[in-house]
């Protein structure tokens, strides 16, 4: 017994030492945080998945926010803004929540921004409410997010918003029965529901509804099911990045030769990797709010600014969410003044309209969700590169749920 007890104690000195080391480490971080302060600057806490499976989302958004600051200066409403970027690894809502809490409590950020995925945004929502800090959602796309806190504003999109137009388009263009294949998580289910409701309301039929697990190495069996069911078209939603694999399998299985058309939301033909998708992508029709090929002066300015920050990357719809989110923050500061409270900033940002690189958008004053044009696009080759070429536009689409 005595022997036993002394062993456990043996480790203890080590314990104390480690705690001391930990304390010193925290102290260092704290001092450096204090040095960064400078009192006057407006701090923006940007929480994004910078590592892990959704890192590309984080990189796109961060680059776009930096591009905005590069192009428009860093001073709005008389105050310089300071970005504090934090990595929540994309899969850990408890980390997102903790980071939000720390940013609010310790760094005294005036805005929370970023939020790559739905559960991450939902986890941080109560913090925004309690701290009365505006929270700008730049990427996550499930409908319910904005309802979770009166301080949430969204500059990305919602899946039903992007899905409904393609369902209409399919019904208008003689597709009578269309299978669906979505990733089995909230945005996927949102897309599935929205597509089915709209498509069947227009007289279409959905013979097959498939849900692929989110962490799914192989779409082949699902597409084989579709092949054997022989619908006229297949609607796909998969998270950005997975689209390429789905599309390749679509081509390899000979679904196109079997006369099945491929449609989807723009996540499928994500600009970030569209160019590497090759032949199988050509001719795919999708609906989305942004294409890097959008023809406007605003978009050209955006592309130029983005290129200065990330020369080798084509900005995608995540990036435009980051750019517009930063614009929203900047406008809020200009209108309410750099020293305004969270509620004043929120009031200044609600109801704003401007012309984004994607086209005209409005942050609805009541829902705080984005209202924007949705485009129907077809993948085409231009100058040796693949682009989503817009050929139809549905003006000022709201989230159908609201």
């Amino acid at each position: 017994m005595a022997m036993q007890a002394s062993t456990t104690r043996r480790g203890l000195l080590a314990g104390g030492a480690a705690a001391a080391v930990a304390g010193a480490a925290l102290g260092t971080a704290r001092r450096s945080a204090a040095q960064r302060g400078g009192g006057e600057a407006v701090r923006i806490g940007l929480i994004l998945p910078m590592t892990g499976p959704f890192a590309s989302t984080g990189r796109q958004v961060e680059a776009a926010v930096r591009a905005y600051l590069g192009a428009n200066g860093e001073t709005f409403g008389g105050r310089r803004v300071e970005l504090l970027v934090r990595d929540d690894t994309g899969v850990a809502p408890d980390i997102t929540r903790r980071l939000a809490q720390e940013l609010v409590v310790r760094e005294r950020v005036r805005f929370l921004a970023g939020f790559g995925l739905t559960p991450l945004a939902l986890a941080a929502a109560p913090i925004a409410t309690e701290a009365k800090v505006p929270m700008v959602v730049m990427a996550a796309a499930t409908s319910i997010i904005v309802q979770r806190s009166p301080y949430i504003l969204r500059t990305s999109f919602t899946l039903p918003q992007a899905t409904v137009p393609i369902a209409d388009w399919a019904a208008r263009n003689g597709i009578r029965n269309c299978a669906t294949l979505v990733s089995d998580y909230a945005p996927g289910l949102d897309a599935e529901r929205a597509f089915k409701e709209r498509f069947t309301a227009a007289g279409g039929r959905v013979p097959l509804e498939l849900r692929a697990p989110l962490r799914n190495p192989d779409f082949a069996p699902f597409l084989q099911r579709v092949h054997d069911a022989k619908p006229e078209a297949l609607f796909i939603f998969v998270p950005s990045g997975e689209g390429a694999a789905a599309m390749k399998q679509f081509a390899e299985r000979g679904l196109r030769e079997a006369g099945i058309r491929l449609i989807g939301t723009g996540d499928l033909t994500d600009d970030d990797i569209l160019n590497d998708m090759g032949e199988p992508a050509i001719g795919v029709v999708t609906s989305h709010h942004y294409s890097a090929a959008h023809d406007s002066a605003e978009n050209r300015a955006f592309l130029a600014a983005y290129r200065r920050v990330a020369p080798d990357v084509r900005p995608n719809f995540m990036a435009v969410g980051g750019w517009d989110g930063m614009h929203l923050i900047a406008e809020g500061l200009k209108r309410a003044g750099g020293g305004a409270s969270g509620d004043q900033l929120l009031a200044a940002m609600k109801g704003l309209s401007w012309t984004s690189p994607r086209g005209p958008i409005t942050i609805d004053a009541n829902t705080r969700d984005i209202v924007q044009d949705i485009y129907i696009r077809r993948v085409e080759r231009r100058d040796g590169q693949l682009w989503n070429i817009e050929f139809d536009r549905i003006a000022q689409v709201r989230d159908p749920g609201t």
């Binding site: 890192a55 192989d218 390899e252 299985r253 000979g254 990357v313």
Partner: protein, 288 residues
Amino acid sequence: MLTVLLDGVASGMLLFVLACGLSVTLGLMNFVNLAHGAFGMAGGYVCVVLLNRYGVPFLACLVAAALFAALLGAVLERTLYRWLYGRDHLDQVLFSIGLVFMASAVVDWLMGARQQLITLPGWLQGRIEIGGGLATIGVYRLFLIALCGAIVLALHLGLVRTRFGSRLRAAVDDAVVARGLGIPVDRIFAVTFAVGSGLAGLGGALGVEVLGLDPTFPLKYLVYFLIVVAVGGANTILGPFLAALLLGVVDVAGKYYVPEVGAFVIYTAMVVLLLLRPQGLLARGGAR
């Protein structure tokens, strides 16, 4: 549904090529190398870079990927891994997970976090009908089956028929005695490790088209590798091979016939198999 079966076989074969190196290091060298997938990732990226940036023919890319991963394996084995032979398994876990973290970060730094894509050469695209319209299968999947089948055969023969194989088996059964008999145990282990890494590299390159490739690759598929090795048993080549085939077929068939249940099928199959045959599919009775 022959098509489903063949698809399952193809993905199982690919899984085997990726995982067999892990089975070798675990079974033959008693080393828990959770960083095995990192060699697959290295091979995959070599293939992507050569193919997309320099236009090297696909087959040459495969060879290069395998060689690069093998070389990487050999270098790391000599410089780092050998310090941990014979250590506690948990130390090895700590070490190899550390390697995975480093590998992911380095790849991210060099290549970015996005999915990497390749375009296969024309002769591997498309699909063919077999058995008079009985089933259709992608050419690339047939290619996978043929290539991986050849590798399995070569490995099996190599282990059973060659002098190196018999020395390896001797070294595994009892390293001390083998050393006493003048078998260069260290060198045999080093070569084995390099071959296992090279195969993983080849698998990673072959898998870009099917499994995708990004910096999370080593962790994403780690669970699958472990399943193959554990279900197959760590002492043979054929055990993991059968396990990989089974895994591939069950996985694909499960998704085809009962997509609602999703990944449940594969995990349930694994648990049941492990409960029925805890030592692996082809375990020699009481071999432990």
